[in-house]
Amino acid sequence: MQETRNIYTSIKARLTDVIEESPSIKTFVLVPEDEFSFKTGQFIELSVDGIGEAPFTPSSSPLITEKLEVTVMKTGYVTDYMHMLKPGVYMGIRGPYGRGYPVEKFFGKEVLILGGGCGLAPIRSLLFTLESIKDKLVKVILCYGSKSPADCIYKPLFDKLNSTEKFEAYRTVDRADEEWDGSVGVATTLLNKIQIDIKNSVAVVCGPPVMMKFGTIRLLEMGYSDDQIYLSMEKNMSCGLGKCGHCMMGEFFVCRDGPVFTYKEIKHNPEIWK
């Protein structure tokens, strides 16, 4: 008889590399000791013994199961501690939890992805997935905004995407520095640049709440319908199982029913942009 894993216990994972993406964001490369897989957009609870755990959406390809990458922004007690970790230590992985991106619904369509800040982490995982099924897609456009050129994560990803058939990637920064010669402005300004067949496309938005709000408003103005927009909600997910109620958003538990929702599903919720 196959042994069922306790959903509350963590899998041990060895930290093999730490990549500095920006002054406040690092990517942790982990090798799980047990079998572990996830669907793009699902999240995990990553823990450090004696410190605590926090929810993250893996940024690596779900097609690669031998290792897992998690991009972490320094925002509090647990993440501050994680940023001090060196390769060789063990961390805990619990999950995966929730509902990810319904990529099969993207078949035959153009996919517009609007991202901001650390929101590029789940998007990166989605991009890897979309790359693997690009024959079934019309095209994929990424519009990404960061506060400054230094805050932009996964810099080599943009050149790679722009040299990949059916993919286009654009970057902008809120504040330019001396060396920056690209677009300046918030992420939504990049939407003035792209050519997209809105009727035959879906839009994915992931980033800080302010960006999600303004991004969604602009997409609606462009002509996207409520069910064409997918939002990856960041809430205070804790148990991951829809039990503790930390991530409740109206009738939904973000950890169980999300974190990916269509705008249609959650638009009437007063807590949507909080």
Binding site: S183, T188, T189, K193, P209, V210, F214, R218
Partner: protein, 188 residues
């Protein structure tokens, strides 16, 4: 050589007896000959985003009251608080838009994308620019005579309504982006 508003701002006056004429006007009229060589066609405008959904006869109106202007890197198209008499559409190239705290301190608020309209203040009283615009790479813009455009609005209400709606949308997006930036700062 490309015309630009910093030429206009030289403000050197030539005197011919009782008559006075600004050097910038002399230079501009010399340049007009060259600008005529770069006339736009209806097909050119069909590829420019701002002109989406215009009828051919409406595009013809734009062509009749416009010229193409070229700018090189660091050319200032206009300064903040300049009086504007042309509304522009970026055809090719790159432009930065910003505000100044002092003559030396320019703050970039954003960049403009090809096909975008700017200098909308030229069609709204008091016709004073709210920002400066500078070329950051060799750039070509369509300069539409604002006074003539307003006269066309009066003659052709459908054309006027459509164009003013598009201009309002540009202003609305700029306002929304500014609020987005402001919220970013406030939630830091």
């Amino acid at each position: 050589m490309a015309p630009s508003l910093h030429i206009r701002r030289l403000n050197i006056i030539l005197k011919f007896g009782n008559k006075q004429i600004g050097v910038h006007k002399v230079i501009k009229s010399c340049l007009n000959f060259k600008l005529k060589e770069m006339e736009l066609t209806i097909n050119d405008l069909k590829n420019v985003r701002f002109f989406d959904n215009y009828k051919d006869e409406q595009l013809k109106i734009f062509i009749g009251i416009s010229s193409v202007k070229e700018f090189k890197v660091k050319d200032i198209l206009f300064e903040q608080y300049d009086e504007l008499n042309e509304i522009y559409v970026l055809l090719t190239g790159c432009l930065s838009l910003g505000i100044s705290l002092s003559k030396e301190k320019r703050i970039i608020l954003g960049t403009l994308e090809e096909g975008q309209l700017f200098s909308w203040s030229a069609v709204f009283s008091p016709y004073i620019s709210t920002a400066w615009v500078m070329a950051t790479c060799p750039t070509k813009v369509m300069a539409i005579d604002a006074k003539k455009l307003i006269l066309e609005f009066e003659k052709n209400c459908e054309f006027g309504f459509k164009t003013m709606s598009k201009i309002a949308q540009t202003v609305s997006h700029r306002l929304s982006d500014t609020r987005f930036q402001l919220m970013n700062q406030l939630t830091l």
